[in-house]
Symmetry: C2
Subunit: 244 residues, 2 copies
């Protein structure tokens, strides 16, 4: 699907031009960065989803170190887009926690975190999604794949962006027939209890802060130091998380 | 080693009675929870370390949503003990980020996070330590094992406490001869790039906030919801992170 196709089809869903711009920007960037399951192909999936195209996220609490947003029926992408713009426009003096309730789907978390790091701030972002990962010992799915993204800015211009889902494969891979649904388990093989523990911790962290619907939690902090250039030197050219 | 032996030997190092009490409490709790590499056996290791037994951590910035502490040469355990006491005595109205610079060694992070959750607050805690994990493609060690602990309180009394190191084995296991040093790599086998990405993200997050020495970063948040009891029901008796 081309960008132009995507724009046309999203407008046809009743989304505003601003919303379409934000969505297509996210999807196209996901494709560019090799995260095709969060890319423009998502437009066809969105056409099958039930959502209010005119809903807009609302900031319901705004304190210097804490904000709460309500997706209010809008696509989670649009909530995270609004959250990113707000935090870049008005950065915290030191740190700010942003809790987004009713925030789904959220796309490729690393891209939102990267955007914040490109504005010179450290970002840590997680989000919940439908339960797909079972306990390593079996049983029903208990948690989402619950990615954790951490982005750290650098004076050399290129942030480091870790973006790790706790699943051994993605739900997108299962939908695309690239992976079997029984492969959608916590990653790690004999150490799957570790990825499961992270998925559970993040699931309950978001649940305790954002409530029973899928949500997102973002921590934004001013960087007081600049560790990335020395870290890149130490890695001697090895690919670091988020590198092209 | 008994608790009484540990107390005697730690006092002999010149530590105050308060400091000894905090250390022994942490070590004994680590033993009780099966984390023997952070347990009373650490006393013998501390006897080989060079530290100022009279150094005390200092809180150098205190804002409602942000604190910065300086270990100031004290053992990291004592910094985290002081940080935990401070946050439990004076919890944030919503959220507080605590950055602890020069904070090492930090022990079993899950125990500090659990203490905060037992006081009814959500905790997310990470810390850096000597570089031991190489890139999955090889090369020199680039990051610490960089555990991430997440603890979420519960109205049923028992918090869920995830505490995950990014190493396939612990440095303690290598010291004890239970694991070979070449096994101290990011966990995950074919998915080791995921644990490595988390280790790098946490390394640089702490580095950007706390500076070049080992440090710790703690996020404490009021729980607005109580997701644990329903999650336990859903897990139908399967062991959850942090359960005995």
């Amino acid at each position: 699907m081309t960008r132009a196709d995507a724009e046309r089809r999203l407008l046809r869903l009743g989304l505003t031009e601003d919303a379409v711009r934000a969505l297509v920007e996210h999807f196209a960037e996901a494709d560019r960065r090799g995260k095709a399951s969060h890319g423009l192909a998502r437009v066809a999936w969105l056409e099958t989803q039930d959502f209010d195209p005119r809903a807009r996220p609302r900031r319901v609490v705004a304190e210097p170190g804490y904000e709460r947003w309500d997706g209010a029926g809008a696509l989670g992408y649009l909530t995270l887009d609004a959250v990113c713009r707000a935090v870049i426009d008005d950065p915290p003096s030191q740190a700010r926690l942003v809790v987004a309730e009713r925030c789904f789907p959220t796309g490729a978390l690393g891209l939102w975190a990267r955007r914040i790091a490109e504005a010179g701030l450290v970002a840590l972002l997680t989000a919940t999604s439908p339960r797909r990962l079972p306990h390593p010992e079996g049983g029903p799915p208990l948690t989402g794949t619950n990615p954790l993204a951490i982005a750290v800015p650098s004076s050399d211009g290129e942030p480091v962006v870790a973006d790790v889902s706790m699943g051994a494969v993605t739900h997108g891979d299962v939908l695309a027939g690239i992976a079997r649904s029984d492969e959608l388990v916590p990653f790690g093989g004999p150490h799957a209890h570790k990825a499961f523990a992270l998925a559970v911790g993040l699931e309950l962290l978001v649940g305790a802060l954002a409530g029973p619907d899928h949500g997102a939690v973002l921590l934004v902090v001013r960087a007081d130091h600049d560790p990335v250039p020395a870290f890149r030197d130490r890695a001697m050219g090895l690919r670091l998380p988020g590198d092209a």
